[in-house]
């Protein structure tokens, strides 16, 4: 059922839909949008982590020749916006809460003029005490960042399932430890940017490199105080998203406010430094204490987690991310009794937010190390322990997540074989070690309103080519190609006979966009449903033309045949023309919708959060240099259960990219902050892995079929990222006997731990 060869189009690689544009330099990214009369916008940012604004004097800037608009909060409706808590403003109202916050902005005829004007804006600051550490911010005497938020706590979670005290008493082994992650920047090679235009009849048109078009529109409408239909958002080519372009930042808001005042289009492209200061919202850093109880045979009996998550100065998606960190991993293994406490705390730093994994990497960095620690204590093989506890078909997590398809055990088996676990363990080499871990992710999540769906429209051209109208948008993962494949498969036309629209809020139906590994599963189902509806129309007309019953028709390779009498056929193009060009003619067009069978979590955070769950196992072999602490990843193995693979190159690319980002998170990526100010906001100091840093990577997809997915497919995009850091840490422990509990695992930390171990006679 899951075999690719059963399909005409699925499971095959085609030239990526937008591929030729991208390799020839003709794909238009937001920086490539030039409108007549367009101005350059630049933003004045807070130089202080926490400060009251006594006064802003913009008069000198306004007088500079070439300046067309200067704006402050006085040019806004001063209405807070934010997906969960409306605590952020496009431009500071009253005070600034982090270094980099947008305070004022200028639109001018060129960048030099705009930058000169910024220097002519006089802000009278009153510096306030600031707090940078989430745990310190919870102390009673900590300065309050939002006056109404007691102890700076944005959100508290305390979920108890089962009888946690009895479960720990019933455990044969109890282990506990604390792990700490750091913010990770998306570091998309393209920074966030926008071009905003404001027309005389009061409509905003905003070109954005966003992942989430309609949510961008919703937030723009809220912050600008207009109706949603008064804002048109058009997605340009997007130069990397990973969550960072899901619109929790102010770039487009400010561009729109400037455009309205200047009555000319305004372009604002973040500099790389701005991207680190106030652009993409970095991964939520968390301190995670976890205690786990096990039976002597290795079965998990109880788990208790306490998370302190750093929200930064404003709440973007961190409230949802904290919820995921607290609960998601309980879908990976079979749990009965768990307690999860979490505190999301404001600090005077850049707001944190969505990054591939969405809280899961911090949780897995702790839990997947606890599994390793417990296996070690029990003298068990970690793969055996994972197999014993692995979720399976029909499992319902303590929080209500219902697992339909699950090939986690198959992934564990494949990973064990690919990394050569048994062989390498039998013949151990000095300073080499192996580590493994498992992971789970969703295929869409019911976060935003009681809707976890998608919709698409397909219209047929008179040449027989299908055109998909979808507002989900492409951010580089290959979504467009996968959607064209799904439509082609369902319609029975060649891949080359399907095209897909750019995302544009005025021209497509409502779509949630790129997050939560949702597109293949959720949008794929919507596209498939639209294709089914179109096929019905085609068959209806074809039946008239072929004088047969519509139920007797099949579509293949762009033709519609009568079953059993295949010489009786007609091309799709002829059918489309036949329906259009006749008295009472009509176009062949239909829409499809899909809303996943998930539910919004209740007040106690119970509820099946996604329509399908994807699973994976991974393992690493590392070599540690005992003299320097340097960790070299020798080999990395990944097995992923994403159901049917629709677009193999795209799917492989998601795995490969996830592992690269995961290894960066594990080993090298971190930023030094001094008084809330990043001291290395550039790619020279915030180092990304390069080609020579990548280990040998082997990966496979499980034979798997998700009954609720389009042709059996489910999500994949984030899965690979989640467990990497824990697995590297487990492998380092296996190699040299030291465990690193804070990210990133730098050579310095490993070396210090080795020296400590030596001192203690280890």
């Amino acid at each position: 059922m899951s075999k690719a060869e059963n399909y005409a189009v699925l499971g095959r690689n085609f030239d990526r839909f937008e591929g030729h544009d991208k390799v020839t330099g003709s794909a238009a990214y937001v920086a490539d949008v030039f409108l007549p009369g367009m101005l350059t916008g630049r933003i004045l940012r807070s130089p202080l982590p926490h400060a009251r604004i006594r006064n802003i004097d913009t008069s000198r800037a306004e007088k500079l020749r070439g300046v067309k608009a200067v704006v402050t909060a006085e040019d806004t409706i001063k209405k807070g916006w934010g997906v969960f808590f409306p605590d952020q403003y496009p431009l500071s109202v009253g005070k600034a809460r982090y270094v980099g916050e947008e305070v004022a902005a200028v639109a001018a005829i060129d960048r030099d003029t705009a930058e000169e004007a910024l220097e002519l804006i006089d802000v009278d600051w009153e510096e306030l005490p600031a707090v940078f550490d989430a745990a310190e911010a919870m102390e009673p005497d900590a300065p309050l960042i939002h006056e109404e938020k007691e102890n700076n706590i944005a959100l508290t979670i305390d979920v108890v399932r089962g009888d946690i005290d009895a479960a720990f008493k019933d455990s044969d082994l109890v282990v506990e430890d604390t792990f700490e992650s750091v913010p990770q920047w998306h570091s998309a090679i393209e920074t966030i940017g926008s071009v905003a235009d404001y027309s005389a009849n009061g409509k905003y048109t905003v070109y954005m490199n966003t992942q989430t078009l309609f949510m961008a529109r919703m937030r723009l409408a809220t912050a600008l105080g207009v109706r949603e239909a008064d804002v048109r958002v058009i997605q340009t080519a997007v130069g990397g998203g990973f969550g960072g372009k899901s619109c929790d930042d102010n770039n487009a808001m400010v561009a729109a406010i400037l455009a309205r005042k200047a009555r000319r289009p305004v372009k604002i492209i973040n500099t790389r430094e701005e991207e680190f200061l106030a652009g993409s919202r970095p991964r939520v850093n968390m301190k995670v204490w976890v205690r786990m109880g096990f039976k002597s045979d290795g079965r998990i009996r109880a788990k208790h987690m306490r998370i302190i998550a750093d929200n930064g100065a404003y709440s973007g998606k961190a409230p949802a991310i904290t919820g995921v960190a607290a609960l998601r991993h309980d879908t990976c293994y079979k749990y009965s009794d768990v307690r999860s406490e979490a505190y999301l705390v404001y600090t005077n730093k850049i707001p944190t937010g969505a990054f591939r994994g969405f809280g899961n990497p911090s949780a897995e960095f702790s839990v997947e190390q606890m599994m390793d620690i417990a296996a070690d204590e029990l003298g068990m093989d970690p793969f055996e322990m994972a197999r014993l506890n692995a979720a399976e078909e029909g499992y319902v997590s303590p929080h209500g997540n219902r697992v339909i398809s699950c090939e986690l055990r198959q992934c564990i088996d494949r990973t064990e074989r690919m990394i050569g676990w048994k062989e390498k363990r039998a013949e151990r080499k000095p300073n080499r070690g192996l580590g493994m871990g498992c992971t789970v992710h969703v295929s869409g999540k019911r976060h935003f309103g009681d809707y976890d769906g998608s919709s698409a429209t397909i219209k047929m051209n008179e040449d027989g080519k299908a055109f998909i109208l979808s507002g989900e948008g492409e951010t580089g993962q290959g979504h467009w190609t996968a959607m064209c494949q799904i439509a082609a498969e369902e319609l029975g036309v060649p891949f080359s006979d399907v095209a897909i629209s750019e995302a544009d809020t005025d021209l497509t139906t409502f779509c949630l966009g790129n997050y939560a590994s949702r597109l293949t599963y959720v949008a794929g189902n919507a596209v498939k449903n639209a294709a089914t509806a179109v096929k019905e129309i085609l068959h209806e007309t074809a039946a008239e033309m072929l004088e047969c019953d519509p139920g007797d028709l099949v579509s293949r390779d762009g033709f519609i045949f009568v079953k059993g009498a295949e010489q009786r056929s007609i091309s799709v193009a002829d059918v489309v023309r036949g329906r259009q060009f006749r008295r009472g003619g009509a176009p062949v067009v239909a829409s499809g919708s899909f809303d996943a069978d998930s539910v919004s979590q209740d007040a106690l955070r119970y509820g099946n959060e996604s329509g399908a769950y994807n699973f994976g196992a991974q393992a690493a072999e590392v070599e540690v240099d005992p003299d320097t602490g340097h960790v070299k990843v020798i080999q990395y193995a990944v097995a992923s259960d994403c159901g049917t693979v629709i677009y193999p190159i795209g799917a492989e690319g998601q795995v490969e990219g996830s592992i690269a980002q995961g290894l960066g998170y594990a080993l090298i990526e971190g930023i030094r902050m001094e008084e809330g100010r990043p001291v290395n906001p550039n790619f020279s100091d915030y180092r990304l892995a390069s080609m020579r840093d990548m280990p040998d990577l082997v990966h496979e997809f499980a034979d798997s079929y998700e009954p609720t997915g389009p042709f059996g497919a489910k999500g994949l995009g984030e899965l690979g990222m989640d467990p990497v850091a824990a697995i590297i840490s487990n492998a380092i422990y296996d190699a040299v006997g030291v465990r690193i509990r804070t990210l990133p695992i730098t050579a310095e930390k490993v070396l210090r731990a080795l020296q400590e171990k030596k001192k203690n006679g280890g």
Binding site: N13, D15, V23, G240, G476, F701
Partner: protein
């Protein structure tokens, strides 16, 4: 104060007027109108703005436009000839050497600079050379595969590359391997 400048880009002369402190990146994108060269880090470490000037790979974000007068500038827009993709471009499409595509013009120009000087580099030489071009999407595996496909003459000139694809599908599922293991 703007000055007149002639830039030879992809074999064509462009007369532009530009401030002397302007970068080649800005001149190409804003004055010549070729936006295929991208800005990534602005400090010459990410390689997104890589172009070839008189046969040498340079970062257009660190190079003054005025310093390129009288030199031959090659950008991504010059690679495809008469609508036919350059073998490197075909290889990147065929082997999935890009996702979001923002670093891709720089990756392809860097690879071209390497192959212009050394048509037969080893995989290690490619890795070393291409390590000056950052990519956040791919993990580099498919970029390496794409470049090596050109080196090894494995770029399928025949369109969809059915054979390559079949091999990929086989290696992806490896079902038999798995089943023989499971039956043990």
């Amino acid at each position: 104060m703007k000055r007149e400048l002639v830039l030879n880009v992809n074999g064509e002369e462009h007369d532009i007027e530009i401030e002397p402190n302007r970068l080649l990146l800005e001149a190409l994108r804003e004055d010549v109108g070729l936006t295929g060269t991208k800005e990534g880090c602005s400090i010459g470490v990410c390689g997104a703005c890589s172009v070839i000037v008189d046969g040498r790979l340079v970062s257009a974000c660190l190079t003054l436009a005025a310093a390129c007068e009288g030199k031959k500038i090659e950008t991504i827009e010059g690679l495809a000839q008469d609508g036919e993709l350059h073998p490197l471009q075909r290889a990147f499409v065929q082997y999935g050497g890009f996702q979001c595509g923002i670093c891709t013009p720089g990756q392809i120009m860097a690879a071209k600079a390497l192959l212009d000087h050394n048509p037969n580099p080893t995989a290690d030489q490619v890795k070393e050379w291409m390590s000056a071009n950052l990519c956040r999407c791919t993990g580099y595996y498919k970029i390496l595969e794409s470049v090596m496909a050109v080196v090894e003459g494995k770029v399928d000139e025949g369109g969809q590359g059915e054979a390559v694809r079949e091999a990929r599908i086989q290696s992806l599922y490896k079902s038999d391997t798995y089943k023989s293991d499971a039956s043990d």
